[in-house]
């Protein structure tokens, strides 16, 4: 009889829905169906049993093809690479468990690695902004229960976080929000009319690259000062009207994404959005939340922070200190400047996400990629080591976009003989110890 596993946490995006129901075959080897997930989450579970799944490590041959090798051979090669390299980029972590990250950090501290995660090409700008100005924020349940003004600024949850609006931000009826979306006014600020804008009550089109100026105008309006006629394509009358409306809110919240993190100024855009949120707390209750992308990039930030004090781009290469300077210790900069000798990727796909110069730089260095799938990174690596899918075939702790920790579950068995991240990293750690002890 197939069985239904309930309360499953979806290991795809930062929304980290934990109400999935997965039906699994009697022998625990196949996922038969997924309920409650969005299309993206469902696909994550469904494709565990697609044909062509790589179940053993592969090593690139001189002619460019890949040949299967054993886990032990892959582990030995990897450990040797790490021990030999003066400075190794150890990047990724955003799709694995906190328990695995912890083992990875031990290795990095021993071999002189720089541990970086996906924030480096995503919400790193937000983290930098928070380091400069702090952040008034709340958990997603507070939004559900209290928010009557919701602003989506430079983000498109309709595409990137599909269940966000129904679980937290627009539609739910909470304790103080019994009217659901009818009791909320939804604003959407973007340079283009997105599917999220379609759902909003009011869409404000901002000239691309002018969010910082527009937010400066919002802050200036909130203080009752004069403004030029238009800012970023938005007339000043509209800005004064919106600010007045926000001041009458009971509980406002701003959600933001790549529209702020990746346009001119980057961290400054989030910085001023946070400053605006802080200003609004002089009038009413206001919070701001980053729409984190990968399901456990937040977790990587948390583990790095409690172990070393920094949320990403942690340079352990001197082995006796942890250093942090985004722009120097961040992956893309290290690669483009050729400041690392080797690369170890795990639980994400830099080949797909990094600027091409960085990918080319990586392809010229000894590189190991740990991932359940063949992806753009594996194809430029010397070794691809597949592992069990975290959140599907093995469990572990994850952190949602609002930093709430939720456990992911094992729902099906991994293919026979496959290692988990924790097992693989533990073995690499042991082999590194042997090699370094022998020195």
């Amino acid at each position: 009889m197939p069985k239904v596993v309930t309360d499953v946490t979806c290991p795809f995006c930062g929304t980290l829905c934990d109400d999935l129901e997965v039906t699994v075959s009697d022998d625990n080897k196949k996922i038969l169906s997924v309920r409650n997930a969005c299309a993206i989450g469902a696909e994550k579970f469904n494709h565990t049993s697609l044909p062509g799944r790589v179940t053993r490590p592969r090593m690139r041959q001189p002619d460019g093809t890949f040949k299967e090798i054993s886990y032990d051979e892959a582990i030995d090669w990897t450990a040797n690479m790490l021990v030999k390299s003066k400075k190794t980029l150890m990047y990724g972590w955003a799709s694995t468990s906190c328990q695995a990250m912890s083992v990875g950090h031990e290795i990095a501290e021993k071999v002189g690695g720089v541990v970086d995660n996906c924030a480096t090409v995503c919400h790193g700008s937000s983290l930098i902004a928070i380091q400069d100005v702090g952040i008034p924020s709340c958990t997603l349940g507070e939004v559900k229960n209290r928010a009557d003004r919701v602003i989506f600024w430079g983000c498109n949850p309709a595409h990137a976080h599909p269940r966000h609006m129904s679980r937290y931000s627009i539609f739910p009826r909470g304790f103080f929000t019994v009217k659901g979306h009818k009791g909320r006014k939804i604003y959407c600020v973007d340079c283009r009319y997105t599917d999220t804008a379609r759902i909003a009550d009011e869409f404000i089109q901002v000239q691309q690259g002018h969010d910082y100026e527009l937010l400066n105008a919002f802050r200036t309006a909130a203080r009752g000062e004069v403004l030029p006629a238009t800012i970023g394509g938005v007339p000043k009358e509209k800005i004064y009207a919106i600010v007045e409306d926000l001041k009458t809110a009971r509980f406002g919240v701003i959600f933001f994404g790549m529209g702020l993190t990746h346009t001119l100024g980057r961290n400054h855009n989030i910085d001023i959005a946070i400053s605006f949120t802080r200003d609004m707390n002089d009038f009413t209750k206001f919070s701001i939340i980053a729409m984190r992308g990968h399901w456990n990039v937040t977790g990587s930030g948390q583990v790095l922070s409690w172990q070393y004090g920094f949320p990403y781009a942690v340079d352990l290469s001197r082995r006796n200190k942890a250093r942090y300077q985004t722009g120097e210790t961040t992956s893309v900069d290290l690669l483009v400047r050729n400041e690392v000798e080797a690369c170890f990727n795990i639980a994400t796909d830099p080949g797909a996400h990094f600027p091409i110069d960085a990918v080319v730089s990586m392809s010229k260095k000894p590189t190991v990629t740990v991932d359940p799938h063949i992806n753009m990174s594996t194809e430029i690596s010397d070794i691809h080591i597949p592992v069990a899918m975290v959140g599907v075939e093995t469990g572990g702790c994850a952190y949602r976009m609002d930093n709430v920790p939720i456990e992911t579950r094992k729902v099906v068995d991994a293919p026979d003989g496959m290692l988990t991240d924790v097992e693989l990293l533990t073995k690499i750690n042991a082999r590194v110890d042997q090699l370094m002890g022998a020195k």
Binding site: K87, T220, E225, N338, E339
Partner: protein, 266 residues
């Protein structure tokens, strides 16, 4: 003043961390001791002697020590960091953190400098003959205490994020600047002889930015008040005064609000 000359004899494979190259560290040491001073590339611990041929004499104190660097130092980081006195002259470009946290003395770089140079500067003089990268004279990440004092002059252009959280001191840029100049500043003075792209004085609480060329787009939080005559770095001219950032908090002195100021040459 006594002079120690370091001539590059091999380029590092990655980048060399040269926090040992300061007058304070060299002072009172003999040449063979200086050659043994540590340098680092990732987990490789090495020495200055491996990468530089070293000649001359160090002074007894930092103030009496001059360091001259010859050869290509464009992959050397941390030169002159935290120095309190003395001189460092580099005959090429340098990498990141040159003159970081310097408290006194003088650094001259006869080329470009990379990013994070002059970070958290407290005093002294820093002259860059070429261009500077990003974060010149800025604060370290998260620190609300940026440049406190001292003087930086750049003969060429600068990048972005210049003098973030500036509290004091002066920066003179003879060329152009990119974006985010004096963001979050609470004091200090920046003079730009060329043009600035955008975002001057964003979230500035106090401080002055004087621009001789054009500003691509003035922040909406700045309001024109009047024209003033100023003498700036030896030049007398008329400037339009703007006060702001009106979206930011400002202190009061004797009941009057003290704004940040942008002066734009007319």
């Amino acid at each position: 003043m006594k002079t120690v000359t370091l001539t590059v004899k091999q380029t590092p494979e990655l980048y060399l961390e040269c926090e040992s190259i300061t007058p304070d560290t060299f002072a009172g040491k003999k040449i063979d001791e200086i050659a043994q001073l540590p340098a680092y590339q990732g987990k490789e611990d090495t020495t200055l002697g491996e990468y530089f041929a070293i000649a001359g004499d160090a002074g007894a104190t930092a103030a009496e020590t001059q360091i001259i660097l010859k050869g290509d130092c464009s992959k050397m980081k941390y030169i002159g960091i935290k120095m309190t006195a003395g001189e460092v002259i580099v005959n090429s470009s340098t990498d990141m953190y040159t003159g970081g946290w310097m408290k006194g003395g003088k650094i001259v770089v006869m080329g470009d400098v990379h990013s994070f140079c002059g970070l958290g500067m407290e005093g002294g003089e820093f002259i860059i003959e070429g261009n500077a990268g990003n974060y010149l004279g800025a604060s370290y990440r998260g620190d609300w205490r940026g440049m406190q004092g001292g003087k930086i002059r750049v003969k060429g252009n600068v990048g972005s994020d210049i003098c973030t959280f500036m509290n004091g001191g002066e920066l003179i840029v003879e060329g152009n600047a990119d974006v985010h100049i004096a963001t979050h500043a609470e004091g200090g003075r920046i003079i730009i002889k060329g043009n600035v792209n955008r975002r001057v004085g964003g979230q500035m609480v106090k401080g002055e930015v004087i621009v001789f060329g054009k500003i691509g787009l003035m922040m909406p939080g700045y309001k024109y008040t009047k024209d003033v005559d100023l003498e700036v770095d030896g030049t007398k001219a008329k400037f339009a005064e703007y006060i702001g950032d009106l979206g930011e908090r400002h202190p009061k002195k004797k009941g009057e609000t003290v704004y940040g100021k942008i002066f734009l040459k007319k």
